[in-house]
């Protein structure tokens, strides 16, 4: 019989530090200290020691989303994982790679690129964003439509729990059903169940060809009709991004792309013959002669811009609504397109809006309430990936409570019974 009870450690009440000399936790909270482990063993040792001292633990990667989620609830230390950035095992012929979690996405893609492979996952600020952070926050990009979400790429994980124990789930082979799927559970858990230390991921050959088609619409209804049509298209897009004019200007401005009220960006990746055929076919299906195509190297800057625009660092507030794809198009009709820069993963029903004005709480709060009510009415939720700290409690960054949060809290208690991992960051009382 295994001993499940954590060792009893007297909890010491700590105060918030008065300066940020020890580092930052996000949302204006300072860290008591920042620890920088350079190995899994060191990470385990630090966690055990810091928890023994009474600290909460706030894992960090590239600090690209430090203010994401609820406000840190109690004093603690930041744990900077960037010292864990090694490739553990890369059997390219098996199309898998095991890496430490502090490696950046850009560094990983470079390693994979040398073997003609890639991870089919995107995240803003790839030269800073770490894989641990990307998986903890469930980040993704336009290619998720055709190539999957983080949960589809992960096959193994090693994390450190609140007792300083390294815990493994999954494995290093692409097919494996031994044990519960801890890799999926940790993905998107916002660092509240364990500190991700190592990941095993599925990788793919790089496609031979890549292209983006830029399609303009004056009316939302026309864009919606085109998307309905493309749902059963002869082509197989890997990305379907619907942008309003402010977002289209931002991502397409550099390339001098023409902008109208709405722009649909359709992405294709496959071998060259297939991509060329799909561009012809798209033209035919949409019955348009004014499509702009960006191919191969010429498409790369727009692909990147479409990923980075998801995290608009100038906007005071950003919402994300998750809906059925058809409902997302209805939802778009309820947004004031002049005040919000909108980007929609139209194939997945994810709508992001970045507020474009000075933020004025009295004005924005009812607007968020209204949009949330509409998202809920359509069967989805509305969260706030970006929100001024002082507004977070009132605006409920994770949206209205969902029925499954009760079991989520039981899961949290099971894996982090003392609540030392990222307290306050995630849904409900987690």
């Amino acid at each position: 019989m295994l001993d499940l009870s954590p060792p009893v450690i007297e909890t010491i009440a700590l105060n918030w530090p008065e300066t940020s000399a020890g580092g930052v936790l996000g949302d204006g909270r300072s860290a008591s200290a920042t620890d920088r482990p350079s190995s899994l063993e060191e990470l385990c040792e630090i966690v055990a020691r810091r928890v023994g001292e009474g600290h909460a633990l706030y894992p960090q990667g590239g600090a690209t989303a430090l203010d994401y989620g609820g406000i840190p609830r109690r004093p603690g230390v930041a744990i900077d994982l960037r010292g864990l950035a090694r490739v553990v095992d890369y059997p390219a012929a098996d199309m898998t790679i095991t890496i430490e979690a502090g490696m950046t996405l850009a560094a990983l893609q470079k390693t994979l690129g040398e073997q003609g492979q890639r991870l089919t996952l995107e995240a803003p600020l790839a030269d800073r964003a770490t894989l641990g952070g990307i998986f903890a926050t469930n980040a993704s990009g336009p290619r998720r439509f055709g190539l999957g979400r983080p949960r589809d790429q992960i096959i193994g994980i090693r994390y450190v729990d609140g007792e300083g124990r390294a815990i493994k789930g999954g494995g290093r082979v692409v097919k494996n059903v031994a044990g519960y799927d801890l890799p999926k559970l940790l993905t998107g858990s916002m660092g509240t169940l364990g500190i991700i230390a190592e990941l095993t991921l599925k990788v793919r050959p790089k496609p031979e060809a890549s292209a983006l088609a830029w399609v303009r619409f004056r009316r939302l209804a026309d864009a919606a009709q085109a998307l309905d049509r493309l749902n059963t298209s002869g082509t197989r897009p890997v990305a379907l991004e619907l942008l309003n004019a402010p977002t289209a200007r931002k991502v397409g401005g550099g390339a001098g792309l023409p902008v109208e009220e709405w722009v649909l960006v359709v992405g294709f990746e496959d071998n060259a013959a297939s991509v060329a055929w799909q561009l012809d076919r798209l033209t035919l299906e949409l019955g348009r002669t004014d499509l702009v195509f960006l191919k191969d190297n010429d498409s790369a800057p727009l692909w990147s811009a479409l990923v980075d625009s998801q995290a608009d660092e100038d906007a005071p507030l950003t919402f994300a609504a998750n809906l059925k794809p058809s409902a997302a198009l209805v939802f778009l009709g309820s947004i004031d397109a002049a005040r919000w820069a909108i980007q929609t993963h139209a194939g997945n029903g994810i709508v992001r809006g970045h507020f474009q004005d000075e933020a004025n709480f009295e004005e924005i709060a009812p607007e968020v309430d209204r949009l949330r009510a509409e998202a809920v009415r359509l069967g989805g939720s509305l969260t706030l990936p970006r929100c001024p700290t002082g507004w977070k409690d009132r605006l409920k960054v994770w949206g209205n409570p969902r029925a499954d949060w009760a079991i989520a809290e039981k899961v949290k208690k099971a894996l982090d019974p003392r609540g030392v991992l990222n307290p306050g960051r995630f849904v409900g009382v987690i």
Binding site: A93, N348, A403, L415
Partner: protein, 484 residues
């Protein structure tokens, strides 16, 4: 040894009033068929079998069992190959096969909602002509249920390109052992909160009873090519697989049959497989027609450069074409064909890094010789998921012992080369003893803690999958052995 529960007599009448007398089996001769699933080495007859027809009835059944302190175990079509549905220690078996409605199909938003007893292939049939399909297609898809697929996170021959069950499940309705109902996920992606759906898929019935499943729908490929590559040796066929992957091609399927398996399939189906070949490789690519021709040429040249020949090359537009179906019938019926060779067989489901396939196959041959057990192999070469089929006569205790030893050695070797003991069949009762080899005490403690969060009294699927923890009846093996 069998720990048979004596059921309170009140429970049978209470359950009968919940599900109706026509949905309950109490007589032993009726229950006998439920003594095992596709894993026949261990058996135990459940004390009662119920067939609820709604979520409410499932709730009623588990609450009644909870009050009576009687264990219960869910079952779909009983195709599990690892004893996942074995009623360890008796109790109530909850058969979901009468919850078999397809509740919703939404092609625009690419999802379907089904009850757990829907047979995998029914959904595919219901979607015919829509331009969409449900991607996971385990070899038993004509019989296995989607609820069972969710419980074991089933795979199948097309997982290399399309992923396994968890990659296609968007949400589940789960009745917890205390009778409360959890809605995890749904047709919308990225609901705020933990990915409980991702955790529940593959739970092998240890968290509760899944009563509804929301799955995503995948666009049909426009066309495909299926090749039958013939090789003198398994090694040469494996080299060809490596060559295909190295060329940047991700086939929809890469399935290999070794010589004993080829002979069995040929004897059963007369498909025209060359019975002298060391290995045949079914290579399938799919996608847009425009992109397939060049891939086809690459594949043919890779097969030839590894000493193989292309015995058949089929160009298809749908997976319904007779030539296409013939190849896959041969592959998917491989286990059935074995019935002609041996009274009983036991199959293993180990996984190795794909590049270790030649090693593990040589190892399997040696193990078979050492234990004097015939072993045929059919497997998913693209993901390194092996299925050695060990042939024996369950009436001979010595053969049973040798088969178990041989299986053990094969799975140990899978672990030694960095793989796993199960790619798609699950741990069940069969492979529980391997869990401490794959996972540390701390890993297992985390898994037990998770199970306890869902299933605190341990009444739901006791003694399955994760060794140790609350509600565990000490035992070495469940029920009686087939040889007894």
């Amino acid at each position: 040894m069998p720990a048979t529960t004596t059921l309170p007599t009140r429970l049978a009448s209470e359950l009968s009033s919940i599900v109706g007398p026509e949905n309950l089996l109490a007589h032993r001769d009726e229950r006998l068929v439920y003594e095992c699933d596709g894993f026949v080495i261990e058996k135990n007859v459940p004390d009662l079998v119920v067939f609820p027809t709604s979520t409410e009835q499932v709730v009623g059944v588990v609450k009644a069992c909870g009050r009576a302190g009687v264990p219960f175990v869910p079952r779909g079509a009983g195709t599990s190959l690892a004893g996942g549905t074995l009623a360890v220690g008796g109790g109530v078996m909850i058969c979901l096969t009468r919850m078999k409605r397809i509740l919703e199909v939404n092609a625009r938003d690419r999802y379907a909602v089904v009850e757990p007893g829907v047979v995998n292939v029914w959904l595919t049939r219901a979607l015919a002509g829509s331009g969409f399909h449900y991607a996971p297609d385990p070899s038993s898809q004509g019989a296995c249920t989607i609820g069972g697929n969710v419980a074991t996170n089933s795979g199948g021959p097309h997982t290399l390109k399309y992923g396994v069950t968890v990659n296609h499940v968007l949400g589940v309705e789960l009745v917890l052992p205390d009778g409360s109902v959890v809605q995890a996920g749904g047709p919308e992606e990225d609901h705020p909160g933990y990915d409980l759906t991702g955790l529940i898929v593959g739970h092998e019935g240890t968290f509760g009873i899944v009563t509804k499943v929301t799955v995503d729908l995948t666009r049909d490929p426009e066309a495909g090519r299926t090749f039958l590559g013939v090789f003198e040796t398994v090694e040469a066929a494996t080299e060809a697989v490596s060559g295909i992957i190295a060329a940047g091609i991700v086939p929809a399927a890469l399935e290999m049959l070794d010589n004993p398996m080829i002979r069995a399939v040929e004897a059963a189906f007369r498909f025209g497989f060359p019975t002298e070949a060391g290995a045949v490789l079914i290579i399938e690519t799919d996608g847009l027609d425009a992109g397939l021709e060049r891939e086809a040429q690459s594949i043919a040249s890779i097969v030839r450069s590894n000493g193989g020949s292309v015995a058949k090359a089929i160009t298809w537009r749908t997976r319904k074409e007779p030539e296409y179906m013939a190849i896959w019938k041969a592959r998917k019926s491989a286990f059935g064909a074995i019935g002609r060779l041996s009274p009983t067989f036991c199959t293993q489901d180990g996984v190795v890094p794909r590049t270790k396939l030649p090693h593990i196959l040589r190892f399997i041959t040696a193990v078979g010789e050492r234990h004097d057990i015939r072993i045929a192999n059919v497997f998913h070469a693209g993901d390194g998921n092996i299925h050695p089929i060990l042939l024996f006569d369950e009436r001979d205790p010595d053969q049973v012992r040798r088969v178990l030893e041989a299986s053990h050695e094969i799975l140990e070797e899978c672990i030694n080369v960095g793989g796993s003991v199960t790619g798609e069949h699950g741990i069940g009762v069969e492979k529980m003893s391997f869990m401490p080899r794959l996972f540390s005490p701390a890993d297992l403690a985390a898994m037990v803690a998770l199970r306890t969060a869902f299933n605190p009294a341990g009444l739901c699927s006791p003694d399955k999958m994760i060794p140790g923890g609350a509600g565990c009846i000490e035992r070495k093996s469940p029920g009686h052995k087939a040889s007894a």
